[in-house]
């Protein structure tokens, strides 16, 4: 089975600086693979192992994210056989449909495939739509919140989809786009051997973006929420004395 995993490279949200005017400073924020795309890569690795298939990773983003050898190696150490990139700065803000168009354009250039795996939503913006829209643009079925994937014979997959109050088992015809849930697996930590091999795997930069029509959305305002001052009284140790002090604090202040 030929599997393509879409992964987004995002700024590490833990290292974003909030400025006094409540705007964000991303200039020194390092890049990382979007957290839940690690689940998609892991699913791809497992499905490829079960079906003796292959995994291609695909990412669209700006040069500061995608030119990084460290990031490329990180993706390739997680089960992908090769990496395809669409490098374009104009994608940093558009709308998800534009991103989906770029992904769909790239997928048309990837040759035949059986399944496209996406994460549940990106760590930074978490719209949870790009995968579904990519499927729609390519005229392929899409399924979100996938919590299990099983091969079900020629051109078919059996997929479990978890909703708020029910679990569906679905049969989907391939090719299809699946967005996997963050519960589907625990991404494995790459072994040293995989990290060594990653540097030798092929990376291709695609230039055909397809025609983009410009975003339909517009940003009006972006502000960090206001934060409350905290007292930060921290006691070391879980002995009876420490806990008693906490109990006193709670009784006095909160109960």
């Amino acid at each position: 089975m030929k599997i393509i995993v879409c992964c987004k490279i995002v700024p590490n949200e833990e290292e974003i600086r909030v400025l006094p005017d409540r705007s964000l400073d991303l200039s020194a924020t390092p890049w990382k693979i979007s957290q839940y795309d690690l689940n998609a890569l892991e699913s791809g690795r497992q499905l490829a192992a079960e079906t003796k298939g292959s995994v291609t990773a695909l990412s669209v983003g700006g040069p500061s994210a995608l030119d990084s050898t460290k990031i490329r190696k990180d993706v390739l150490s997680r089960g992908a056989d090769d990496l395809k990139l669409v490098i374009d700065d104009s994608h940093s803000f558009s709308d998800s449909l534009e991103t989906a168009k770029a992904l769909a354009g790239a997928l048309k250039n990837c040759g035949a495939f059986d399944v496209v795996l996406c994460g549940m939503g990106s760590s930074d913006l978490y719209l949870q739509e790009t995968g579904i829209q990519t499927g729609a643009l390519l005229g392929l079925p899409s399924i979100n919140n996938v919590t299990a994937i099983r091969p079900a014979g020629e051109g078919l997959l059996e997929v479990e989809r978890t909703l708020e109050e029910e679990v569906e088992t679905l049969e989907v015809t391939l090719p299809a786009v699946l967005s996997v849930s963050s519960e589907i697996n625990v991404p494995s930590v790459p072994a040293m051997r995989e990290i060594m091999r990653a540097g030798k795997k092929p990376v291709a930069v695609l230039d055909d973006l397809g025609a983009l029509d410009g975003a339909s959305l517009e940003m009006l305002e972006q502000l960090a929420p206001e934060q409350q001052e905290r007292r930060q009284e921290v006691i070391e140790g879980d002995g009876d004395e420490a806990v008693e002090a906490l109990a006193q604090f709670l009784k006095k202040e909160c109960l």
Binding site: E13, E14, I16, L24, D95, L97, A100, S123, D124, Y126, L127, Q128, E129, T130, I132, Q133, G135, A136, P141, I143, N144, N145, R161, L163, E165, E166, V167, E168, L170, E171, V172, T173, A176, E183, S216, L217, E218, L220, Q222, L223, P225, Q227, Q228, R230, R231, Q232, E233, V234, E236, G237, D238, G239, D240, V243, L246, A247, F249, L250, C254, L255
Partner: protein
Amino acid sequence: MEAKTKDLWVFVETNEDGSAKNVGIELLTPGKMMAEKQGGTLTAVVIGHHTDAAVHAVATHGAARILVVDGPEYAHYTTDAYTIALCALVEKYGPTSMLIGATNKGRDLGPRVSCRLKGGLTADCTALDIDPDDGKVAWTRPAFGGNLMATIKCPNNFPQIGTVRPGVFKKCEETEASAEVIREEIHVDAKDIRTQVLEVIRDMNEEKVDLEGAEIIVSGGRGVGGPDGFAPIRELAAALGATVGASRAAVDSGWISHAHQVGQTGKTVGPKLYIACGISGAIQHLAGMSGADTIVAVNRDPEAPIFDVADYGIVGDLFEALPVLTEEIRRARA
């Protein structure tokens, strides 16, 4: 697409028994305010099978018009059938904006529909308003793990579509039904449905967890180590009369149900007291609980970021600290 009307639509998701999902009813509340400001009719769209209960519920919660598509092909949600039906309605009636509940199905349907209508979609909104200057919807949603609230507009495309978090808005009071009900026959060919539903298992003991209304919350994270690790959390909560919360890591691990999750992608809470146990304090978790009056943290790691936002912290093992604390509280309250 052009808007043919100034109407605001609320897509109302139905349950298998034909009743309406809560979030659809909740969205009629902001929908009414928005429709008034936009000068259009608040229209509910009900798609499903045997939907009388859902139609009645929306009619008694503020909808002025109800579009109903009822048929066996809609008994169970499929992306293809629902997309075909909703797009056909939009093309026929041309609403100016549409709200969809951000359930898993809503999050599936929204992008599929917006893509077919060649427009944008603002996902997972937590606040809605109408720009008084041009009558467009101002959609507000969190980004960067809750580091940021972004307000977004869809200036040129119709309908303007957004998905809205369940639980953000409250249902309005029930009123006398006076809605105009329009039934549309839209049939979908079996061959156009490319996913087959083989089986559905319903979770009947779905827990009702009122985190939003809780005065005290005791939450557990990955640090509790497993499903049994929630026992000391539950005991402390019982002693305090508190509700049990959790981090996403604990939920994703399957140790506790999603209904307990606090954070950017869980519940936003504002209790008097929030006690975080074995939770590191990731930005996405803080996004859901930083409005608490007092925050207490119990964590083994003195460097854990949760201590930066805590009023009171204990650096130590939660399995040592919590039972002692629970005893103290019980004694004080006896």
